[in-house]
Amino acid sequence: MRINARTLPFLATLGVFILLYAVCAIQYPSMLSARVIGNLLTDNAFLGVLAVGMTFVILSGGIDLSVGAVMGFTTVALAVMIEGAGLHPLVSFAIVLVGGAAFGCGVGAAIHWLKAPPFIVTLTAMFLARGAALLLSTDSIPVRHEFYQTLSDLSLSLPGGGRLGLIAMLMLLAFVVGGVLLHFTRAGLRVYALGGNARFAGLMGIDTARTTILVYGVSSTMAALAGIIFSLYTRSGYALTGVGVELDAIAAVVIGGTLLSGGVGGMAGSLIGVLIQGLILTWITFDGSLSSWWTKIAIGMLLFIFIGLQRLILQFSAPTGRTG
């Protein structure tokens, strides 16, 4: 890969991840085990899927604060449909995915045609989804359907007692599909164009309405998928699932080298951003004497460093941008 202003943030993230893992592994050799790696992917599967959607949104120059609430709503909706109404899980999955897509498209449409800031519109969407989830049920509802058991037993065995669960594989698949969509299709190109300069993109004949609706549609669909994953992960539904997780997803995307202002970045970095967060928490748990709130502090410092790094890169690359 050629090192330039676009790839440097990603390489820096990758470097941080490798360095972090090396330091952790020296201290706790068991962190190199396949079990820990399997855990890292499985435990952060829902966050990874959210980050896929969030990458689209941030690249387009927007933000989506509703994903955690949509995820929480999905877990409750699934529990109610499967346990309460007796629907088959696969039917319920289809319903929440379609519902999530429709919800996101509505959010995108509101942002485009009301010309409202994404922050406000998705904040509204967040309140709506969280409120609706709590209306459905304030208790945590266990899901005891046999099919859930079957799905959570599906896994690749890793050497050393580890396993790569279905939900980890779903997350990796989401990254691959999201990456292809973003980097190898015209729709993906339009997302970059929108984030680079929305007015310019419009003048160039890019359908900004369609692109905005697509971006938020993808984000909410991913949030619904994350809800399915979380539901499989805990085999239950709870309305307060994922409070604040949208901010973790945003942090993962930014640490992954995507500019918060849009137009620059990529999918692979977001995966590393998710894994870095998971790794820090794992390390703190292994240590066992530090407060786990240090995770937040470490993430905050990393974010700060990466935003500083991006600022520098922008400054250095500005002249070439103008002439070339």
Partner: protein, 331 residues
């Protein structure tokens, strides 16, 4: 380009430093403990949302130290996902046992199944879980919340000694099983005495402010002098209620008897001042019982009972000053 590389390198180093500091010493100590045959136990705690929970964590740490147990604590920040992650990490580390204070009741089957597969016993602390397979955990150490209410009710009946009494009740947050249990227990405690009856009951949501508000309402609604006792589901609401009584010109503790549950430091202060009459302890020392039953289980496979109840001790004003001193640093 060179400039990028330079700043990039600086950023990398800084980031690496923020992530993993040098904690080699602690790790070595843990290893040394292990070779001595002591246990390493992982504790997945809900968070540090209340003084009681902070006390529970503190006691878990100090009791572990007394027994030579290496305790690894993970604060889940109220998120079930974090608790599951912590349990998985504990399993990956190969700890000898896991303590879990579950944030919600369902959703533990899979991760506890993994612990079981790895032959790591799990002891639940202070809350039960909702599962179809009770073999997923070794034992649960919790208080008997119905008994807490019963103790409070029985105290009131014996204190009144046959005198007629109209009781007002300040409940906790409606819908919590704890609240239903403390209500039921109190009703059982006073069921033997026809002279004692609950005349009003309302939720004070476990907070001081709400407790005060509810008590103000009771005082206005009831004829002056007709309330003889107040029962609050926790001490915080009682402290609010005491304030309301004082502001209405009543003397809590003598005009109106005050009994509540939890035994937090502030209620002992109130008892020492004569403003409250009794409290029933919900002990924060859950971990030491778990350590004892784990030690026995590890030594010769003694199966502990599935549910270990901590005692619900009644505290009265005579010991209040000493109890306050004993507890004030814990919370």
């Amino acid at each position: 380009m060179k400039a990028f590389a330079k700043y990039g390198a600086v950023a990398l180093m800084l980031a690496a430093m923020t992530g993993c500091g040098d904690k080699g010493g602690a790790d070595k100590a843990a290893d040394a403990g292990k070779t001595a045959g002591a246990l390493t136990i992982g504790f997945s705690q809900i968070g540090s949302e209340s003084g009681w929970r902070a006390a529970e964590t503190k006691l878990a740490k100090s009791e572990a130290e007394k027994r030579g147990i290496t305790l690894k604590v993970s604060d889940a920040q109220q998120q079930q996902a974090n608790q599951i992650k912590a349990i998985r990490s504990f399993i990956a580390q190969g700890v000898d046992a896991i303590l879990l204070a579950p944030v919600i009741s369902s959703g533990w089957d899979e991760v506890l199944g993994e612990a079981k597969a790895a032959n790591i016993p799990v002891v639940l602390l202070d809350r039960q879980i909702d599962t179809a397979d009770a073999s997923l955990y070794l034992s649960a150490v919790t208080s008997d919340t119905v008994e807490e209410g019963r103790v409070a009710g029985r105290w009131l009946v014996s204190t009144l000694a046959g005198r007629d009494c109209r009781v007002v009740e300040i409940q906790g947050t409606i819908g919590a099983s704890l609240v239903a249990n403390r209500k039921k227990g109190f009703e059982e405690g006073i069921s033997t005495a026809a002279n004692v009856q609950i005349v009003r009951t309302q939720s004070g949501e476990f907070t001081r402010a709400k407790g005060k508000e509810v008590m103000e309402g009771f005082i206005k609604a009831e004829a002056p002098g007709s309330i003889c006792a107040v029962y609050a589901h926790n001490d915080d609401m009682m402290i609010g209620a005491i304030q309301a009584m004082k502001e209405a010109g009543l003397k809590p503790g003598s005009d109106i008897l005050a009994v509540s549950i939890d035994a937090v430091p502030d209620i002992f202060k109130a008892m020492a001042d004569g403003d409250a009459n009794a409290t029933v302890e919900l002990t924060p020392d859950m971990a030491s019982r778990a350590y004892d039953l784990l030690a026995a289980y590890k030594k010769d496979g003694t199966q502990p009972p599935k549910w270990v109840q901590t005692p619900s001790t009644l505290y009265l004003p005579d010991t209040a000053a000493a109890e306050y001193e004993r507890r004030k640093d814990l919370y």
